[in-house]
Symmetry: C2
């Protein structure tokens, strides 16, 4: 019996129950904070020597020099060559689709010229060097390599440095192959907070980067939070989530399996189904009970569903959309007859999968968008990882003398109001010069 929590919008305390269900304290524990603080300090002070110590301690692997933790391009290429043809084909097809999607996100700078010749604009440039954290440990995620590195490559990033933990020195060949396919420049077998520290501060062997992206465990998340400002980061990821809105017409086994596909990530993953038909919730529950024993990660799925899963009965699809907006889910499946109509009512979601033939799993691997998405209600203000996360812009202002003469009185007035007389004078100098003529300033 899989006793998943049932909620109904007719319950008088539904809002509190929903809030309790989706509450996630993203604060690190004191133990994690203290450990990460120490690791960051050690790597900053002792560089490579600290990395060797931590690799021994956390990955159970001692090498003589950090250069031995680097995997060269040749070895990544060999890993790709050595894959079964189907695996290689799958990686390359996924990579091509991800690349194609992200080409649409590129943006050009712009410039406009005013009547007096003054020019304003915005310049957009790729970030020079980026670090990508690829989680390892319990599972290897070649798809994460593609989803992080390809948008960076499309953006034109100069150098992509990937880190991935290699417990006991072992790394999945498919992860190295994905690095080759995605065009990663350098790979270091480093994980945890020490890998983040190495990328943020640089060591003799690991180059310092300008921004660090990619998901990781609580130590990685806390390390990223701490180095933010010194380098850029993408986001601090929470546990993965799916919300499925179904009209009750999709094969219950499909819906059950889509919920499983989220729940199998880890015990904190959240899988929630919303439907106006109580009968359908029963059918999906029955399908889950039937299908669960057959799953390879059934214990994780069970734990996750019991701790964080829910089946929510609503009055209609409009109410389902309101529930979705309150949850602001990372992944949202609209398994209904007119998904685009329902999508128009959704204000907050990382990614929307429309229709019964678009399970989240297709998006996780190969539909095109990055699977690095905002979690834990951050879709209210955050976006999927994309090309612009690997670019930055610069404002451009070029005033002609007459343009300066027009702006100077405005700037001067406001500067005086703020008590900033040097600002005012700096503007006034140009006004005086532009009003006089032939003052020798070109």
């Amino acid at each position: 019996m899989l006793d998943i929590q049932r909620l109904s919008t007719t319950q008088p305390d539904f809002d509190q129950r929903l809030a309790a269900l989706t509450d996630w304290d993203d604060g690190a524990t004191h133990a994690v904070e203290a450990a990460v603080g120490e690791i960051l300090k050690a790597v900053r002070q002792r560089g490579d020597a600290a990395l060797l110590d931590y690799s021994e301690r956390f990955d159970g692997w001692r090498v003589g020099h950090v250069t031995e933790l680097e995997v060269g391009a040749a070895r990544c290429g060999e890993a790709l060559e050595g894959l079964p043809a189907d695996d290689r084909q799958a990686l390359e097809t996924a990579a091509a689709r991800i690349r194609e999607y992200h080409l649409h996100q590129r943006q050009a700078g712009w410039e406009r010229t005013e009547a007096d010749g003054t020019r304003l604009g915005q310049q957009i440039r790729p970030i020079e060097r980026v670090g990508i954290y690829v989680p390892g440990g319990k599972a290897a995620y070649p798809s994460s390599v593609l989803m992080n590195a390809i948008p960076a490559r499309v953006a034109g990033v100069g150098e992509i440095v990937m880190v991935a933990p290699a417990p006991g020195g072992e790394i999945a060949p498919m992860v190295l192959a994905a690095a080759a396919v995605a065009g990663v420049d350098r790979v270091f077998l480093l994980g945890g907070a020490q890998a983040v520290a190495a990328l943020a501060y640089g060591t003799d062997t690991v180059p310092a980067v300008d921004k660090i992206v990619g998901p990781g465990n609580a130590f990685v998340a806390e390390a990223k939070r701490r180095v933010f400002g010194h380098v850029g980061i993408d986001m601090v990821a929470g546990p993965s989530e799916i919300l499925i809105i179904c009209d009750g017409q999709t094969d219950p086994a499909w819906t059950a399996m889509d919920l499983f596909s989220q729940a199998e990530h880890d015990e904190d993953a959240r899988a929630i189904l919303v439907c106006p038909e109580a009968r359908y919730l029963d059918e999906v529950q029955a399908a889950m009970e039937r299908l669960l024993p057959d799953m390879s990660r059934s214990e994780i799925i069970r734990a996750s569903l019991l701790r964080r899963g829910a089946l929510i009965c609503v009055r209609d699809l409009g109410e389902a959309a309101r529930v979705a907006n309150a949850i602001a889910p990372e992944h949202l499946e609209l398994s209904v007859v007119e998904p685009e109509r329902l999508a128009a009512a959704i204000h907050h979601a990382g990614a929307i999968f429309l229709g019964r033939y678009t399970p989240e799993a297709l998006g996780d691997y190969c539909a095109g968008p990055s699977h690095v998405l905002p979690t834990s209600r951050t879709a209210r203000f955050a976006s999927p990882l994309g090309v612009m996360d690997f670019c930055k812009s610069t404002s451009m202002v070029y005033c002609t003398p007459s343009g300066a003469a027009e702006l100077a009185p405005v700037a001067s007035r406001l500067a005086h109001a703020e008590g900033l007389t040097a600002h005012a004078r700096s503007a006034e100098y140009r006004l005086a010069a532009a009003s006089g003529e032939g003052d020798g300033q070109d």
Copy 2:
């Protein structure tokens, strides 16, 4: 005698000297961290009551209820009506130019359809509710109201909630007038970490927002860093900086005053001049000595220049560009004969002011771009505040049955490689259904 540090790229230890000059530890002190932690907790737990206590303690102002800390639209409108005509005109001209510039930053979503009917795209929506922190205290900054609120308004943000400290209950009418001009929806006279906490968590009176932007002191910066994740933030701002590259042909008084305009902000502000002509550095120094006594904030300017200022002699303008890229300045003036040529060599800067007639002060108030810019070398990865900081996107995937049938084998293969069998099965279900026909799934 204004004994500003002199550097030259011919010094053997120039790189270390430059690094020392620009080093900025953005880490908060333990005292600030502890105080902010306590304030966040108090506001989260006690809401309005905590706000009243902190306003009394930090702003020296006790009211009976937090509703009395709200300034209504009528009072903002009256503040605008009550301004001298020139001040009002300056505010409105600046606002119109800022609005016009930011209209160019708006972005539309997109969608493309593949041969099999599968559709991929990206939806872009404004953030629903945004909080804007406007610093007060020593000086009032109406320009900050415009520079934060107008990009949000252009983005289509639903509600803009502004907070500004009001020591003793006093707030500059020009700040309220700017709120009226910029279209701020609600104004609360709250400052410090408690204002950030109120916006992040909400109280009975202050609404919780989705993102908080705007500069503030060390307490505000630390509070923003701590609530990040719960809400979005723009950036953690460091002290303001200007780098001027001059070819030695600009009136030394202009350059001196432009350096002053940065230095007058506060004692941590950084003003640096780079020039290939040692003679010109002498002339600017002489101009500074002559002009300083006349400045209203001369003591702040002096302290800032002595602590953080520098005059740097380089071999040529190419070397000046390399120095600029190492500093990645918030503001960069190119006071040279062919500024666009030099701009092409600049990779990292928040804003570039080209030519002798474009002092930073024009950009601070009214040229168009926001004056909220990346500081402390973060221009390597961060951008000026803009319209897209007030928007977020959602990835859209809508597969047809035949599209799903094409993607499913790829997803399945990669999912199996990652050991995620529910992901694989979820994809395979759609493949089987699309291969068979008339299976009852529309």
